[in-house]
C-alpha cells in the first residue's frame, strides 16, 4: 500500500468523523425540538480494494443516518392522544356547566323550589293575605328565572360546541393537507437518496396532534409515505400525497352542523356524512356533547322537571269546583301550560301539518324528533304552522316523520307564570265564596313532599338533586379519566423519549469519541506527510 493510500484512508476517516459530528450537532441543536427523533450516523467499513493481489481496506464510510423511531409506540401514543383529546374536551365542557347545577355553593333551582312551596305553606296560614299571595307569585318568578338560567347555560354550551366545529374542522383540514405535502417531500427526498428523517419527524408530530382531534390509524408504506385512515369506518384521510377534506353542512340546521368528508382521492360524489359515526378525539367529544350528552342527559331532564311541575300545579290550581281565587272565581292555570300534539313534518320544509291548533299561539317553543333545538311557532294557519328560530328566520325540519309527537312550550326555557295571574287569582280556597278556606293551598303546598316525578319515585327536589348528583358524577369521572389519560400519555412520552430522545450526555461523549478519532486520522495524515517528506528527501 502506498503512502497516498494511507493518506486517502485517513482523509476518508476525517470525512466520516466530521459527518458523524455533524449528526451529533444536529441532535444537540434539536434536543428541545418537539417530536424530534435522535439520529445516529452508522459507520461501516468501506468496501475493500484489491491491490497487487492483496485485499486491502479502504477505510470507513457512513452507510446511513439512522433515525430512532418506534412505529408501534407512535400508534400507541396516537391512540392515547385520541382518548385524552376526547376526555379533555368532555371534561372541560362539563366543568363549565357544573356551576349552573351547583346548589351546594349557591342557591339554585333546588332552593327556589323549596322557597316556592314554602310560600304556599305561608299562604295556608293566611289564605286571604295579599302579602302571602304576592310572596307565592314572587317565588314562582324566581323559580322560573332559575330554570331559565340553568336551561340557558345548557343551550349556550350546545351552541358553543356547534360553533367550535368550524375552527376544529379547518384545523384538521390544514393538518391533513400538510401531512400529504410532507408525504410528497419524503418521496422526493428519498428518490434522490436524501435523508428525510426531519420531514418524517414533522409528519409524526402532526399525526399525534391530529390524533387528539380524531381517532386515526396510520400505515407507513415502503416508499416512506404514510396513509392515514379514520378509526372505525376506515375512511381514507391521507393517501400518499392526497388529502381528504372535511366540511360542515350548515344549511340543514343552523344549530346542528353536519360533519362531512370527501375521502382522499375522492370526489364530491363520494362525500360521506360522519356526524353520527365520529365518536373519538376532541371532535367526537364535541359532537357527543352537542347531540347526546347535554341534550339528553341534562336538558331533557331539566325540561321534564319544569313541564311536570307546571302541569301538576296547573291541574290542582284550576281543578274544577276545587280551586277558587280571592274573588270566588274558578282557579286558572298558574303557569303557562305545555301541550303535546301530533303532526307531520317533512325534511327540508319549514311547515308542519297539524289538525289540532287549539291553545297554540305564535311564539310557542316547539320540540320533537326532527325539529332543531331553539325552534318556535312562526305563524299559525288552519291545519298548519311554520317553524322559525329566535330571530324569526325560517327553520327546516331535519327529518320526515308522520304523526310525530310535538311538544309546545314543554321546556324549562318556556316555563313562565300565566300572565293572568295576580294576587287575586291565586286559588288558595277549595270553596266558592269562602276566601278564608285554605284547603287548595294546603294541597299545593303538599306537592313538595309528594313523589310525582320518575313514575312516582321522586319528589321535585329529589329529581333535581338526582340530576345534580349525576352531573357531579359525570364531572368527577371525566376528571379522573383525564388524570388517568394524562398519566398514561406521560408514560408513553417518557418511553418514546427513552428510545428517540436526545441524551446530551450521550451525544457529548460520542462527540468526544469522534473528536479523538478525527484527531487520530489527522495524526495519520501528519505521519503520512512526514513519511512522504522523508521519501522525497531521499530522492533529492
Amino acid at each position: 500500500m502506498s503512502i497516498s493510500a494511507s493518506m486517502q484512508i485517513a482523509v476518508n476517516g476525517l470525512n466520516v468523523f466530521r459527518s458523524a459530528n455533524a449528526v451529533i450537532s444536529q441532535n444537540i441543536a434539536n434536543v428541545s425540538t418537539p417530536g424530534y427523533s435522535r439520529q445516529k450516523a452508522i459507520i461501516e467499513t468501506a468496501p475493500t480494494i484489491n491491490l497487487s493481489g492483496f485485499t486491502l481496506g479502504s477505510g470507513s464510510m457512513i452507510s446511513k443516518v439512522e433515525r430512532f423511531h418506534d412505529a408501534l409506540l407512535q400508534q400507541q401514543m396516537a391512540n392515547s392522544n385520541t382518548t385524552l383529546g376526547y376526555d379533555t374536551a368532555k371534561s372541560l365542557a362539563l366543568q363549565q356547566i357544573e356551576p349552573a347545577f351547583n346548589d351546594i355553593g349557591v342557591d339554585g333551582v333546588g332552593a327556589a323550589l323549596a322557597r316556592f312551596f314554602a310560600s304556599w305553606q305561608d299562604l295556608t296560614n293566611n289564605p286571604g293575605g295579599i302579602a302571602e299571595r304576592q310572596s307565592v307569585l314572587s317565588n314562582a318568578q324566581i323559580l322560573a328565572d332559575d330554570l331559565h338560567a340553568a336551561s340557558k347555560t345548557l343551550t349556550d354550551m350546545i351552541t358553543l360546541q356547534n360553533d367550535s366545529l368550524t375552527p376544529v374542522i379547518d384545523d384538521i383540514n390544514i393538518k391533513l393537507k400538510e401531512i400529504a405535502r410532507l408525504n410528497q417531500q419524503v418521496t422526493t427526498t428519498e428518490m434522490i437518496s436524501g435523508n428525510a428523517n426531519e420531514v418524517k419527524d414533522k409528519r409524526d408530530l402532526l399525526l399525534l396532534q391530529l390524533a387528539k382531534q380524531i381517532g386515526i390509524t396510520s400505515t407507513e408504506n415502503s416508499d416512506g409515505t404514510v396513509d392515514v385512515e379514520l378509526v372505525g369506518g376506515g375512511e381514507a384521510l391521507v393517501t400518499g400525497a392526497n388529502a381528504g377534506i372535511f366540511s360542515l353542512d350548515k344549511t340543514t340546521d343552523l344549530n346542528s352542523y353536519k360533519v362531512e368528508l370527501i375521502p382522499a382521492k375522492g370526489t364530491l360524489t363520494s362525500k360521506v356524512n360522519l356526524t353520527s359515526t365520529l365518536s373519538t378525539g376532541s371532535l367526537g367529544a364535541t359532537l357527543a356533547l352537542r347531540d347526546e350528552i347535554i341534550p339528553k342527559d341534562y336538558l331533557a331532564k331539566l325540561d321534564t322537571l319544569a313541564t311536570t311541575l307546571a302541569t301538576d300545579i296547573n291541574t290542582q290550581h284550576s281543578a274544577l269546583n276545587e280551586a277558587f281565587d280571592l274573588n270566588a272565581n274558578q282557579g286558572i292555570n298558574f303557569f303557562n301550560q305545555s301541550y303535546t300534539k301530533t303532526g307531520d313534518i317533512t325534511a327540508g320544509s319549514d311547515t308542519v301539518i297539524i289538525s289540532d291548533v287549539t291553545n297554540l299561539t305564535d311564539g310557542m317553543q316547539v320540540t320533537g324528533t326532527g325539529i332543531p333545538i331553539g325552534t318556535f311557532i312562526g305563524a299559525i294557519a288552519a291545519g298548519s304552522f311554520t317553524l322559525v328560530n329566535a330571530k324569526g328566520d325560517a327553520v327546516k325540519a331535519t327529518a320526515t316523520v308522520s304523526v310525530t309527537t310535538l311538544t309546545f312550550d314543554g321546556t324549562a326555557a318556556a316555563f313562565s307564570i300565566n300572565s293572568s295571574m295576580s294576587t287575586y287569582t291565586v286559588a288558595a280556597s277549595s270553596q266558592n265564596s269562602n276566601a278564608g278556606d285554605n284547603l287548595n293551598a294546603v294541597k299545593i303546598a303538599g306537592f313538595a313532599n309528594k313523589r310525582l316525578m320518575s313514575s312516582g319515585t321522586l319528589t321535585y327536589n329529589g329529581y333535581w338533586n338526582a340530576l345534580i348528583s349525576k352531573m357531579g358524577l359525570d364531572v368527577n369521572s371525566s376528571k379522573t379519566n383525564v388524570a388517568q389519560d394524562e398519566a398514561f400519555n406521560n408514560q408513553l412520552s417518557v418511553l418514546k423519549d427513552s428510545t428517540a430522545g436526545v441524551s446530551l450526555d450521550q451525544e457529548l461523549s460520542d462527540m468526544m469519541m469522534y473528536q479523538r478519532s478525527y484527531q487520530a486520522c489527522a495524526q495519520v495524515i501528519s505521519t503520512a506527510t512526514a513519511m512522504m517528506d522523508t521519501l522525497l528527501g531521499i530522492v533529492r
Binding site: D103, N126, G436, D437, L439, A448, N476
Partner: protein, 384 residues
C-alpha cells in the same frame, strides 16, 4: 433504560403539577371550610347534603307554620275562656234568682237587661278576630260570623219577614236559629227587596217555623261561617286542624253549610244563643204581660250547664292542639338538629388534619422543586 434530559424535565413538570394540584385542593378546603364545594367533589355526599338541606328548610317552614298556628290557637283560647266566663256569669245570674224575684217586675227587668248584655257579649266574643280574620268563622272568616236580627215567624210557614235594612250581610246558605226555628235550618230564596227569605234544611227542603204569630218580632241568630277546620302542615305529611268553628262552639252543630256534612270534633249539641233567647223569654221583663216562668227558667238554666260543658270541651280540644304543636316543634327541632349534625359532619373541614396535610404537601413540593433544580443543572458540559 436510557434517560434523557427531556424525560427528566417532563417527569419533573408532571410531578410538580400533581403536587401543586394536591396543594390547591387542600387550600380550597381550608379557605372555604367545606369539604365539598361542588357536586363533582363527592357526588354521593352531594346528594345527601342537598337532601338534608331540603329537609332542614322544610322543618324551618313547619316551625313557622306552628308558630302562626299557635298564635291562632292562643287567641282562640282567650276567646273560649271569655265565652266560658260569660256563661258562668249567666249561670250565676240565673242560679242567684229565685221564684220570688221572677214575680217582681223590677227584678225581672234587671235580669232581662243583664241577659241581653250577656248575649251581646257572647256574640262579640264569637266575632273575635286574629288580624283581619274571624277566629270562629271557619272557612268564611273574612266577615263577622255571628249576628242577631229581628224577624217575624209564622208557625207552620217557612217564610220569614224582616226589615230590608237588616238584610245587608245575609246570604243564601247562611245558618239561622232562634225560638221557633228547628235546628239545622238555613236561609234560601233571600229577597232583599221584599224583605223575605225561606227556611230550609241541609237538603234544601222547606221547613216550617214551629212558633210565631206572623206579627210579633222574634230574635233571629245568623251564622255566616262554616264548618271548615283550617289545617296547616306541622311536619312531613302531617296536618293539624287549628280552627274552632263557631257552629260547633255556639250552635252545637258541625253542619252549618247548606248541603254540608257534620264532622269531628263535636263539642256538644246545645245552641247556646238559642238557650239565651229561651232564658230571656222565660225571665220576662217589667211588662205585666211578660211575667216570668220559673219552670222555664229552671229548664233554661239546665241547658246553660250543658252550654258550659260544651265550651269547656272546646277549650280542652284547643288545649290539646296547642300541646300537640308544642310537641311537634320539639320533634322538628330534634330532627333538624340531627340532620344538621350529619350535614356538618360531612361538610366541615378538620382544620388540624388538613393543616398538617398542607404542611406535609408543601414540604414535599419544596423538595421536588429543589430536586428538579439540582438535577436539571447537572450536565457533562460542566466537566469538559
Amino acid at each position: 433504560m436510557r434517560v434523557t434530559a427531556n424525560m427528566t424535565a417532563e417527569l419533573s413538570v408532571y410531578n410538580i403539577q400533581q403536587g401543586r394540584s394536591r396543594i390547591d385542593k387542600i387550600t380550597e378546603k381550608l379557605t372555604t371550610y367545606q369539604m365539598i364545594n361542588r357536586p363533582s367533589d363527592d357526588p354521593v355526599s352531594s346528594g345527601t347534603l342537598l337532601d338534608i338541606k331540603e329537609k332542614v328548610t322544610a322543618y324551618d317552614q313547619f316551625n313557622v307554620n306552628i308558630t302562626k298556628c299557635k298564635s291562632w290557637l292562643e287567641v282562640t283560647t282567650n276567646g273560649l275562656t271569655g265565652i266560658s266566663d260569660i256563661l258562668d256569669a249567666a249561670r250565676n245570674l240565673v242560679s242567684g234568682s229565685s221564684s220570688l224575684s221572677i214575680q217582681d217586675p223590677t227584678q225581672r227587668q234587671v235580669m232581662h237587661d243583664q241577659l241581653i248584655e250577656i248575649k251581646k257579649q257572647l256574640i262579640e266574643m264569637g266575632n273575635v278576630q286574629y288580624g283581619d280574620q274571624y277566629i270562629f268563622g271557619g272557612g268564611n272568616n273574612l266577615v263577622p260570623p255571628f249576628s242577631q236580627k229581628s224577624g217575624t215567624l209564622t208557625s207552620g210557614i217557612s217564610g220569614v219577614t224582616m226589615a230590608t235594612t237588616d238584610m245587608a250581610a245575609l246570604k243564601d246558605g247562611m245558618s239561622v236559629s232562634g225560638i221557633g226555628i228547628p235546628a239545622g235550618t238555613f236561609i234560601k230564596n233571600l229577597d232583599t227587596t221584599l224583605g223575605t227569605f225561606d227556611l230550609v234544611n241541609s237538603s234544601g227542603t222547606l221547613i216550617p217555623a214551629t212558633a210565631g204569630d206572623g206579627a210579633t218580632a222574634s230574635t233571629l241568630n245568623f251564622f255566616s261561617g262554616d264548618s271548615t277546620q283550617r289545617e296547616v302542615e306541622i311536619t312531613t305529611n302531617t296536618r293539624q286542624a287549628f280552627s274552632t268553628t263557631g257552629d260547633r262552639l255556639l250552635l252545637g252543630s258541625g253542619d252549618s253549610s247548606l248541603g254540608g256534612v257534620a264532622s269531628d270534633p263535636t263539642y256538644g249539641s246545645t245552641n247556646i244563643l238559642q238557650v239565651m233567647d229561651e232564658l230571656l223569654a222565660a225571665v220576662g221583663d217589667s211588662d205585666p204581660a211578660n211575667t216570668g216562668d220559673a219552670v222555664a227558667v229552671s229548664a233554661a238554666a239546665k241547658k246553660l250547664e250543658s252550654a258550659s260543658k260544651q265550651v269547656n270541651a272546646a277549650i280542652t280540644i284547643n288545649s290539646s292542639r296547642i300541646l300537640r304543636v308544642d310537641n311537634m316543634t320539639i320533634l322538628n327541632d330534634i330532627n333538624k338538629s340531627t340532620l344538621t349534625t350529619i350535614s356538618t359532619s360531612i361538610q366541615n373541614v378538620d382544620l388540624a388534619k388538613y393543616g398538617m396535610q398542607l404542611n406535609a404537601e408543601q414540604t414535599a413540593f419544596q423538595a421536588s422543586l429543589a430536586a428538579t433544580a439540582r438535577i436539571s443543572s447537572m450536565s457533562l458540559l460542566d466537566y469538559l
